[in-house]
Amino acid sequence: MRIGIDVGGTHTDAVLMNGMEILCAHKALTSSDVRQGIIEALDRVMTEGRVDVTAIEAVMIGTTHFTNAVIERKQLSPTAIIRACLPTGSGLPPLCDWPTDIASALGNHGHMIGGGYMFDGRQIAPIDETALDEAIADIIHSGVKSIAVSAAFSPADNAHELEIAARIRRRIPDANISMSHEIGRLGILERENAALLNASLGELATKVVSNMEAALAERGLRCPFYISQNDGTLMSAQFIARYPALTFSSGPTNSLRGAAVLSGMQDALVVDIGGTTLDVGVLANGFPRESNSHITVGGVRTNFRMPDILPIGLGGGSLIADEGASVGPQSVGHRLVEEALVFGGSTLTATDIAVANGSVSVGQPARVQTLDRAVVERATQRIHRMIDEAIDKMRPSEAPVPVILVGGGAILVSRELATASSVIVPEHAGVANAIGAAIAQVGGEVEQLVSFSKHSRDRVLADMTREAQAKAVAAGAEPKTLRVLDIEETSVSYMDDDAARIRVKVVGDLRHSP
């Protein structure tokens, strides 16, 4: 049996699962003390599920802790960066596109040295060891222990990053080092930004992990525990201390993965309707479709793997205006339970429309009986049209798609959606995040710029797949269960006909500890 816990900004959800079966679920407000919050969540599901600690094989935790630290610029460690790129790149030094408040939170310790690679695999320059030693001396002098390392084209060849990291470690044995090739993708500015954020969260991660470990130990749980990443896969507790930034955006990912399990669908659109917004995400092969554009975290441009989510301003608390012709984006939000007509308030909201048109009965339905039927009809149509349009923008083609509805605002949907081949409203949708965490698998990913004129396409893909598999096994996957999840191939313009950017991703089940 497994326990999945999702620690969100507002709620902490927990589920107890046996395989794919949900034994019990629990939802509570998030406490300011991580350890205490996790203990309470564990107690609830274990008491309700009547299980002994020895029956628990693993605990999976999803957390927004690290995203919030970046957004609030809190608990970030001073962090230095060494980038190997010279003589290229001098025009755009590290941290050059950061908002000043977060750049100064990290301390503005940027260094550039000779090194890095070109697109065809040649070195830009050998590592400039003198400059490297000077940079390290400078870092020692400043007392900074968190250090990011980047090098041009390191996703294609990581040797320079490895060499620099090794040299840093010889001089600063207790350094917390983040190498960019382990964190991000092609695009050195975004990748090293990601590595910088990751390094700056290292100390906090160590603290959070020891709190989590303490919570588990206090309840006698000796099973391994894992943290969920933004791509829907897991990392072990030892990994999280090194890669905290990979948890960014794991909430929406877990919600999508949870919806897949709850509905039994591998390919579908997930529409999550809350109080203020509706998020549409895409499940392909049981995993979220990833966004191809840059992701800004706390004002910093990065290229993390993030699910492709379309948010629109429609939710249960959306205000109705213009005689029902306009719905949202303004919303009463969490004040819905006081301000909506059906709850005794005086604001006409989307929830009131859903009650008035008979699709649901909450609060005091009598309070909306006197509404103008034309307004109710117009607003009902408008709501469905907005949802249809959002689905249409996200579906991969014109063919109608299965739609999984989750979130409290799902009550707004009472009619057929033209874009949907079917609409599924699963049970336990409220704790989809925790379920997504509990069922997560382990993955490995490799990205390269390749030229098929040098090696055949099959050979390149086979090599890359092997490398991705090795990464997944190192991260804790059971080799027998590995499967290729995705091969993304993007041709590159103004180059050889055969140049392409390729990304291979594999996943597998968690290997049980002996």
Binding site: T88, L92, F119, D120, L186, I188, M495, D496
Partner: protein, 369 residues
């Protein structure tokens, strides 16, 4: 605009993305570089082609190669200024001003910052008024400028002097050199007199792109809301004609790389009438637009596409199913309407078997939504 400084670059890049007609790549790196340098050295003087002395010596400068490479191999401060200085050393000529190759895309930002570094003016104009993929399509060679001598320089300071018989050979040569030198080079080329700039350059495109970008960037709302202002801006410019050709949803896209070009098609379906469809032919840029089989705009006229709800320009690489877009046809300037200009920029020059008919002529009897 008399000067161009760091504060103009974001607007310039947004306007340049609109005029890039779907090409031009992601201008983020060039935008950052120009902002940083202009912030350090102060703004560049912007000079109207008409204000150039006839005997002034002007050189065109920009980057040539694969935009994807610059995502990893970031630019240096020195490549552009290095290429200019080397050009002067090799030719023995003093450069009085610089001018962009193309206003569409990231190449619009390089002449302003290199002019500021060198303390010379940047000409408010360019050699395309849009984005086009090859050197012989620039108005400079079309109206008599020689592309060479050209100096190309890479990030290492390696440089080469190119001498080619004509623009076509220059295009082949510089493309091959760019790949050999690491994927991207800066090129100082098309040295010409002020008199020749007046005859060949499309004037005022840098200030125009900046105004256009300011309009689009500060609006950031539904395209319908700024259409009157957008039309007024274009109608008062050298482009003259602008028409909304289509509004609808992207329902299909295809693409592949052929000969180094990103070649593809996109189909857009009208909101009003599902049977009414626009097909776009793409070769890096949007080149031909037709509605239900009938051509409604073609290169060298501009086909510019924005996302309907935000009025943000849409790059062809980012186009995908489900996007709501508005398609505009914009007349090319007079420079592209002569027989010699059309011979290298009409649809046939891109391998499409159809004649160029000016936007204002083909569209007279078409009822646009």
């Amino acid at each position: 605009m008399k000067t161009i400084g760091a504060e103009h670059i974001k607007d310039l890049c947004t306007g340049a993305a609109f005029l890039a007609t779907g090409g031009g790549g992601d201008p983020y790196v060039s935008q950052l570089l120009a902002e940083r340098i202009l912030h350090q050295v102060g703004p560049a003087q912007l000079i109207s082609p008409g204000d150039l002395r006839d005997d002034a010596f002007v050189v065109s400068i920009g980057m040539v190669g694969a935009p994807t490479v610059t995502l990893e191999q970031l630019p240096t401060v020195d490549e552009a200024i290095g290429a200019l200085n080397r050009y002067e050393a090799v030719t023995g000529k003093h450069i009085d001003a610089v001018i962009p190759f193309e206003v569409g895309g990231g190449n619009s930002t390089i002449p302003p910052f290199v002019a500021a570094m060198k303390g010379i003016p940047c000409v408010d104009g360019d050699g395309m008024g849009r984005a086009l993929p090859e050197a012989q399509m620039m108005t400079f060679p079309i109206y008599g400028a020689k592309p060479t001598p050209a100096v190309i320089m890479d990030a290492f300071g390696n440089w080469e002097l190119l001498e080619c018989a004509d623009a076509m050979s220059f295009e082949k040569e510089i493309r091959a050199k760019a790949v050999a030198m690491g994927g991207m080079v800066t090129s100082a080329e098309h040295g010409m007199t002020g008199a020749l700039v007046k005859r060949s350059a499309i004037p005022h495109t840098l200030s125009f792109a900046t105004r256009l970008g300011a309009l689009l960037r500060h609006h950031d709302g539904h395209i319908d809301a700024i259409e009157p202002e957008l039309f007024a801006l274009f109608e008062a410019s050298d482009y003259g004609v602008i028409k909304r050709l289509f509004t609808g949803k992207v329902i299909d896209t295809t693409r592949k790389i052929v000969g180094g070009y990103d070649v593809g098609t996109a189909t857009v379906q009208s909101f009003e009438d599902a049977g009414r469809r626009m097909e776009l032919l793409i070769k890096n840029e949007y080149l031909v637009a037709s509605i239900n089989g009938r051509t409604v705009a073609s290169v060298p006229d501009l086909i510019c596409i924005v996302e309907q709800e935000t009025a943000r320009p849409l790059n062809a690489e980012r186009m995908r199913y489900g996007q709501r877009i508005a398609v505009f046809g914009i007349g090319c300037t007079q420079h592209y309407r002569t027989a010699q200009a059309l011979s290298v920029t009409e649809p046939r020059a891109f391998g499409f078997d159809l004649d160029y008919i000016p936007l204002e002529d083909i569209n007279e009897d078409i009822d646009f939504p």
